[in-house]
Symmetry: C2
Subunit: 319 residues, 2 copies
Amino acid sequence: MTQSDTFSLRGLESFFVGGENVMLDLTPTGDVALAMGSAARPLAQAGNYEIGQMYVQGFLGAPAEGTTPILMWHGGGMTGVTWESTPDGRPGWLELALRDGFDVYVSDAVERGRSSSPPDAITGMDAVFRPKELSWEVFRMGPDEGFSMDTGERVAYPGQRFPMQAFDTFCKQFVARWPELVPRVKSAYREYLARFEDCIVMVHSQGGGMSIDTTLACPGRVKALVLVEPSGAPESEDVSANKDIPHLVIWGDYFDQSPRWQEYRGEVERYLSAITALGGRVDVIDLPAQGIPGNSHFPMMDDNSADVWAMVSDWIRRL
Amino acid sequence: MTQSDTFSLRGLESFFVGGENVMLDLTPTGDVALAMGSAARPLAQAGNYEIGQMYVQGFLGAPAEGTTPILMWHGGGMTGVTWESTPDGRPGWLELALRDGFDVYVSDAVERGRSSSPPDAITGMDAVFRPKELSWEVFRMGPDEGFSMDTGERVAYPGQRFPMQAFDTFCKQFVARWPELVPRVKSAYREYLARFEDCIVMVHSQGGGMSIDTTLACPGRVKALVLVEPSGAPESEDVSANKDIPHLVIWGDYFDQSPRWQEYRGEVERYLSAITALGGRVDVIDLPAQGIPGNSHFPMMDDNSADVWAMVSDWIRRL
């Protein structure tokens, strides 16, 4: 199939999961003109708000009746845009999954993107921001000295598959987060799973720990977990609730360059070992170990993103 | 065609328009554990960020080769979610347009939704929030006393077509905005139009003033303007750059209940009169005047949203 071929959908969905009403006694900001050309008016900001909701966009594939929907969860400081396209304009895993006939749901975690940043977060808590420099390191793009704003250089690790010419474009996706809101984030993910009889949860990075935490709390709802470069796992003594869920984990390259990631990966591997010890199924696609070097922390954006997707899609269809 | 019929797409797009690099000397927030189960680390927040970008999601309809794409712009305190679905779960104008074969691009204005709230906005400027109470009034849902958090009552104007049982669900879409950032919002809209040889701009509420401002600044790029309940127009002496653009304006009901909206509509009608005086084409769908009472400020969500869309779609196809 060529990229110009069409694909079919049964429909689109867009909805919010969770959230609750709160009364916030915000002070007025003075007169504001909300409409262009009209008079400024006092703005009554005190009042009731919805907070803690999570935005979900659903794409109903065709022909997909009877197949299990895929829920795609992004990582930290990101939104559902992670899955939509690559920064250099190639189709993302969302579109590739739709072309394979899956139903796909893409969410923005609570407090991020279209889920809205609630007023109490903007006005009352410390936000966490991740500049380009830190992202360059955390996402295993290249050596620290490879990133220079002065020269504009982006010198990546040798063989790096991330579309480096689009690194700064990629940084436009970044959003703030509020560590104090993690309980709200988790709560909405639990409500989200409760909406589905059966689903496949596919996560990236920080979404890894979130998905393990959520599935431990909501047993019996998830047919499979696809962990793309998961950055952690909850410190749970008992992971038996997840032992019947087949796990697929995908690792990119350059772990030897990153003490941070050696620690993160260690946490995940301890969890996966516990699943295996309980008789559970854990499949690993360690890309460089399989002769495919050069993937970054974002295999869904790297130059072989369609090939990695094909492996994932194949694994899901064989479930 | 029934709702269960499938429709086809040629592809999905997702990209950012505009934006620029800024160095922000943000102070560290102390140690933060970004990954579940791992050690907290000092977070270097000072560094370079992208700010001022606008997120766009594109849906390439089929068969649509040769048709003019529709760009849907939301209103104040909202995101592109406006166009995706109704709060009670019916298809939004996005899906209806795709089923009609159009290419559709839905954006989140700068600073809102997936466009990200830039750090300098969150940390350094006053945000504007709109509580449910103010939204109830500004969106012409019902009399002030019809909204009560104490009783939970939502008593709308008689004949109101907005799906009132979903009013609080609808409020989950609201996002903050920063009046100081309006120049960035306008700048990104101008860059957005420059990407298209030809397009139809369809706007809601605050997007009305934005679209008129943008088209005046970028002549020759827009085939038609569809103004859905526009809330204002720029105070421009010379609107001749827009005189060759066919305008369609859609008005709902209950203007007699709202001095605010009488002023807003007056601003828009002054602009439209200037277009007409220059020999331009202005078509008006004044729903109650045409025997269709009861529409709120959100005709794309009201119970007759599909009927109103059919009028809009018909107008576009006759251009």
